[in-house]
Each structure stands twice: as structure tokens, then as C-alpha cells.
Symmetry: C2
Subunit: 421 residues, 2 copies
């Protein structure tokens, strides 16, 4: 082939996620204690539950054949019905959503992709907490859309800051470019923050109020909702959306059950059902029917709740191990702070202002030398809006044992001490 | 929400596939004999094989846990290794492809989507047989790319016609817009045509020779390759690509094993590995690990080949039933012609020139009234290039029993007779 190949704009836009560099490093040195990857714990995967559900599913040849055949683009109605009922119960609304508002996807990530592709033209803006989920920002980059940071604290996105940011965007003549507000309202990635009910109400109200140039949707990424270790569940931002035309929910069984089965879902306002299904139909005609039937069987047989309960216990121990280790090794250090999340998989560290925790900084090098890997917080900040902070770190406690977590934090403390003397 | 919602350009481009109208009609009347859908036979799904493979997979807790965990974006290496060996054996090349050239996707459709998205900018051209796979044209439409028809006959795309079409495109100053030639070289959808080796050689050679403005890739969609009922297998067009930079292969277990498990794959030239994996990583981080492990286990335990052998027998009977019925009921009609495919799921009918077989035509209405559904051939023609034919019909023999196939063809013959008197 003579002329040189140039990948399409879209493929180029999707390239170069910093996280893949990190993963590559983690794989190079298996002795490294990775507190970086947001993987789930390999020790607590539901092999027993899957065995039971699978036996039951494959027992009846007719049921098995149905699971092995093509399904529909929005997904297996039996599973969608159970999801609807589960959400109805969790959120305590008067009326459940309609079944056709629920679409099954390849994890919540595909839902986020389909929804964002339905909403956004190149150059459009999505307002995100600052910091926010870095993979979602990569996805926006791939769509040539812009992530715009809004100041946030231990309770997530600050409504007053959102209002300010929208006012500034309006003053710049770009309000009609704002198409969505992206929230991770439960134990968010990376900061572990959970939005209290009043903030959920305020953000949804604000999305509606600012829907002038274009409708502004709220995308509520609820991937971690089930992983709560202390305190009570809070209803989804969906319940603040009386007219049902503003809030999109993304959910998944990847964190609470199995990422290998990869079943996620979305709850869509009516006007998004068709665009999302059109796009999905073009890509894969609907998610694999087989794993949808499997998850439905898991729920139906009552195998899900006990598994999640066990998972919560195990992750709670690990979170405690990480917080205890932080108290022990990090609290003696000046200007090192962290929050105590009520769930999820992450602890977010703030280091002294002078520290650059980035991939090219001294701390990252020293940490690797000590034998511990973290995610530099700076990759979790949107490119526009609220400025990035170089002195933040995301620690994940999902994968390692309690002992390794303690050891990892101790190593990290040594590296931090070395760069702050 | 006050302002009206407008879905993105991309979502609008993905909308309105004619096939969904057809499906809706089929579902409205369950008594209708559908010779339309390209579904696989529900009677021959591999529930026994899946039961055995699943039991073996879930027996060992460590193996089960690996299958339930996240995998990598290109897919499970165990499965990719088996696919490599299988292709190596089937195509009899000196050297197998490298493992990293193989990417696992959600059916072959996702591979076609990722590859096309990597290659194409809006306005770019893909040359296709005329007629060709309508879902692929829908996918191109969704990417705002252009399907351009090349004359084809019972042996698929005609190389001389391809050369002519490229010369005409060059004369129009658009050669740099041509990015790919899409082939379904085995028992194609819709025409049942299989390209002989000399045509494969000629098309790949032509793609290379015409790669002047931009590289022109050959996308070889081999979804039906395993479904051969008579004659010998022909090597993939991949073997004609000595430098390995031109031909992309799309394969799938959906037709030969189970569409519900939805495991497909691609073989990529080296320069496409990164763009395809970048795009895939952005959508779903890689296909579900669980079903990939399942398919690997199926292959490893030797459960695949016997299943496909049974499938071939069953589909061969159905093809014979359809051809026999055509001989009996259609040959008495003037100017009704069809080919005898060596495999696949489709028989392509040519009706008298005066007949409009489209959704709004008389024949379609009469056929519905008689109780039989077909795919109007006109939807299978690219919008540009070789002009569409209104008097063609795609019949599928995959789903119905031999009796229903005969009955369906008889009904269709009555409808055709009624519009041609």
C-alpha cells in the first residue's frame, strides 16, 4: 500500500488515554502494589452464584435456546422488568418508570457513550465535577466534545459553583453549547464524594432552569450506588425530575457483581429512547442476550443481594484498612488530607501545594521505586473551567488485600515524605 | 424542559433502518411465515455444548473468577490464540497472523463498526457489491459515509466492474475519498453469491493498485464462511494480501454457534490495531470476558465442530427445501430466476422487470395477505453507483421448518402470479 494511512479524526480523538500508560507500568512490574486500577476484587467474584444461576438457566432447553438466540436492541424484557422494580423500590417513587425507558448496554460505559453520542455535536460542553471520572472525559474527547469543570468538595459538585459556571458560559455566548451535566452522585470516582439530597435537587432544578439555548440533561452515573458501607442510601437524582425529561441514569452490575459479565443499563427520558436505540442497533443490535438472561436468573433466584452484602463487608474492611493506614502513616505528614468516603472504591488524597503528583513528577518516580502505584489526580480534571490540581492522588482499595493496602500506603507515605522535606 | 430536543447529527444519521419496519410487521402477525429475518434457527442452538462448556468453566473457582473479572480491550488471549490457529489451518498460509492483530468484538458487526469508524470521515466512499448487506450500509449511513455499488453476479463483485467504477470515481476527482471495498465473499447476504479465488485475488490486487490518493482497504465479512453445505472451502481474501496491510477480516460465532453469546472478531492490518482498540476502549473497554472464556472452552473441548456439522446438515436440508419449492412453484412463472447458493442463509430471486417488490408495492401487500414475509431486494442496493433493482427479493431459509419454507414459497408464488398476470 503506497500512500500513508491516516486514521479518521474520530479514531485519533479516541487515542492516548493516560490510564493505559499506567496499566502498562503496573503490568511491567508484578511486585508493584497497585493502588491505581479501579478493578474489582478478584477474591470476591460471584462464581458460586453464577454456577447456580447457570445450572438453572441451562436446565430447561427452551429457556437455554432463548438465551442463545438474538435478543432485541433495548434488551431482554425480563431483566428490564426486574431492574425497573429494583429501582422503584430503592427510590420509593409513586410510579415506576416505563419498561421502554430502560435499555441494557455493555456495562454503564456503553450507555454513557450512546447517550453522549446522542446528545453531543463536536464542540458541545458537558459540565463535570472537578475532579471527575477520567474515562468519561476520554469518551467526551473521542466525541470531540468538551468537559468543563465545576468546583466540587466532599459533597460533590457545588450547586452555587455550577450556577456561576453557567453564568460565565452564558456571558461567553456559549450557553447553547451546554448539553449535559455529568454527575457521579454516589462515592464518586475519583474523590469518593457523595452528593446529599439537597444538592441533587439543586442541580436538577438548575439544569431545567438553564435549559434555554438547548435542553440540558443531567447524566447520573450510579455505578457505585450499591457499594455503600456506612449510612443510608439516597434516592437517585432521577426522583427530582418530575417531568422525567432531564435526568438520565447509568447503572451497571460490573462493580456490584461481575465486570466479566458486563451488563449495564440506562434509564432514559422518552425522547432519548429512539436515538440511543438507533445508535446501539447500528453497533451491535443489542447486548448479548445470554448474559442478560444470566443476570435476570441471578436476580430472580435471590443470588444477587447476598453477594452484594458480602462484597460490602469485604470492601468495608479494605476501606477501613486504607483509612487506618492513612491515619497511621500519612497524618504525621504536613498538609496531607483526605476524606472518609461512605462507599465506593477510592480515597482521594490532597498533598502539599508544592507537590506535583503527575506521571513526570518526582513523587510518581519515588513511589514506583518504593513499589506502589497510584493514579495522579491531575488526569481527573476537565480541560476547561475549574483549574486542575497537581497535588492530588487517587487511591483505590478494591483489588489489594488489607495487608497490601497498609503496606502500599506506608510506601506512599515514605515517598511523600521524601519529596516534601 | 423548555427548548425542543434535537438528537445529534450522528444519532439522526443512524435512524430509520427499513429492516426495523419489517421486523415490526413480522411481530404483529405471528401466523405470517417470515422468510425475511436473517435469524438463525432456534431449533439448532447449542444448549448442550454450552451446558458442558459452562460446567467445565465454572468447575474451577480460579478459572471462573478469571472469566468474571475485567479482561483486556483486544480480548481474551486464549480465545485469540485458538482463532489464530483455526484461521491458519483453514487458510493454509505459511505463517499465522500475530496474536495482536486479532481483536474480539460484540459480534462481527461491532468489528465492522469500529473498522469503518477508524477508516472513514463523513463523505468517504466504500465500494460494495450491488446488492450488499443492508445493515452494513445502515452503519455507513450512521457514519455519514457513502456506499457505492459495483455490479455483481452469481460470483459476487465483478472485478472489471470494480475497475470501471474506480476509474469513473477518479475521473470525478473523488478517488482520495475511496477508503475501502466491502466484500461478503462467502454465500453473501443478500444474494448467496460466493467469490471464486480468482476474483478474490483480483479485488485485493485492485485495492492495492488503486491505493493512490488514500490507502484502500478490503473489508472481508466472513460471517457465513462456516455455513457451507456443498463444495470446498475457499481461502480468505486475506491470503492474497502478501504485505498484510490491505485486508481486514470480520468473523463471528453468531451464525455458526450462537448469536446470544455474541462473540465476533477481526483480523487487522498492524496500522489499524491501535485506532480500533482506542475506539473500542472508549466504548466498552473490551468485550465481555465471560462469554469469551465460554467460547474458548467450547473450542478447547471440541464442542464447536460437531455443532457446526449438525448445523450444516440442518441448513442444507432447509436450503434444499427452498430450492425444491422454488422449482415446483416458481419455475412455472415467467421470468422468475434464482441461483443455487452453496451455503449461507439466503436465496435471491429475480422477478419480471415490471414487478416492484418494495414495501409500498403491490407484491408486498399481496404476500402479506397470503401470509408470507420477504425482504424487498431494493433495500440492499447502495445509493450511488450501480442502480438498484426493484424486482429482487431476498428469501431466508434459516428460521422456518422445511414444511413452512415450502408453504411460504408456495404463497409467494401465488402473490407473484397475481401481480404478473
Amino acid at each position: 500500500m503506497n500512500p500513508e494511512f491516516h486514521a479518521s479524526r474520530r479514531a485519533c480523538a479516541a487515542a492516548g488515554q493516560p490510564i493505559s500508560q499506567l496499566m502498562a507500568r503496573a503490568l511491567e512490574n508484578p511486585a508493584l502494589i497497585s493502588l491505581a486500577a479501579g478493578f474489582v476484587d478478584g477474591q470476591t467474584l460471584p462464581d458460586d452464584a453464577v454456577r447456580q444461576a447457570m445450572t438453572s438457566l441451562l436446565q430447561d432447553s427452551r429457556v437455554a435456546a432463548a438465551a442463545l438466540q438474538y435478543g432485541s436492541t433495548p434488551g431482554y424484557h425480563g431483566l428490564r422488568r426486574m431492574l425497573r422494580d429494583q429501582m422503584h423500590q430503592a427510590d420509593g417513587q409513586d410510579r415506576p418508570v416505563d419498561l421502554d425507558q430502560i435499555v441494557i448496554t455493555a456495562g454503564s460505559n456503553q450507555l454513557l457513550h450512546l447517550v453522549s453520542e446522542s446528545l453531543l455535536e463536536p464542540g458541545d460542553i458537558v459540565l463535570c465535577a472537578s475532579p471527575t471520572y477520567l474515562v468519561y472525559m476520554g469518551l467526551l474527547l473521542g466525541l470531540e466534545a468538551r468537559a468543563f469543570g465545576v468546583a466540587s468538595d466532599a459533597q460533590g459538585m457545588i450547586p452555587e459553583a455550577l450556577d456561576d459556571q453557567l453564568r460565565r458560559i452564558q456571558a461567553a455566548g456559549e450557553l447553547q453549547r451546554v448539553k449535559a451535566i455529568y454527575l457521579v452522585p454516589y462515592f464518586d470516582n475519583p474523590a469518593g464524594a457523595t452528593m446529599p439530597m439537597d444538592r441533587r435537587v439543586a442541580v436538577v432544578e438548575m439544569a431545567k432552569r438553564w435549559s434555554r439555548g438547548s435542553p440540558i440533561h443531567v447524566i447520573s452515573d450510579e455505578a457505585y450506588r450499591e457499594l455503600r458501607y456506612t449510612g443510608d442510601d439516597i434516592p437517585s437524582p432521577r426522583v427530582c425530575d418530575d417531568s422525567g425529561d432531564t435526568v438520565i441514569v447509568a447503572g451497571t452490575f460490573s462493580k456490584s457483581f461481575s465486570p466479566g459479565i458486563r451488563v449495564g443499563w440506562g434509564v432514559l427520558p422518552r425522547h432519548l429512547i429512539q436515538p440511543v436505540c438507533d445508535l446501539k442497533g447500528n453497533v451491535d443490535f443489542g447486548s448479548p442476550n445470554f448474559t442478560q438472561h444470566l443476570m435476570a436468573r441471578v436476580l430472580q433466584m435471590g443470588l444477587y443481594e447476598p453477594h452484594v452484602a458480602g462484597l460490602r463487608e469485604s470492601y468495608h474492611r479494605k476501606l477501613t484498612a486504607m483509612l487506618d493506614a492513612a491515619d497511621e502513616f500519612l497524618s504525621p505528614l504536613d498538609d496531607v488530607r483526605w476524606e472518609r468516603p461512605a462507599g465506593g472504591l477510592y480515597v482521594w488524597l490532597e498533598l502539599p501545594d508544592t507537590v506535583d503528583a503527575g506521571l513526570d513528577g518526582l513523587l510518581f518516580q519515588l513511589s514506583i521505586r518504593e513499589g506502589v502505584l497510584y493514579v495522579p489526580g491531575q488526569y481527573c480534571y476537565p480541560e476547561e473551567g475549574e483549574p486542575p490540581q497537581k497535588n492530588r492522588i487517587r487511591l483505590s482499595f478494591g483489588v489489594q488485600s488489607c495487608e497490601k493496602i497498609r503496606e502500599g500506603v506506608e510506601k506512599l507515605a515514605r515517598a511523600i515524605a521524601a519529596v516534601t522535606v
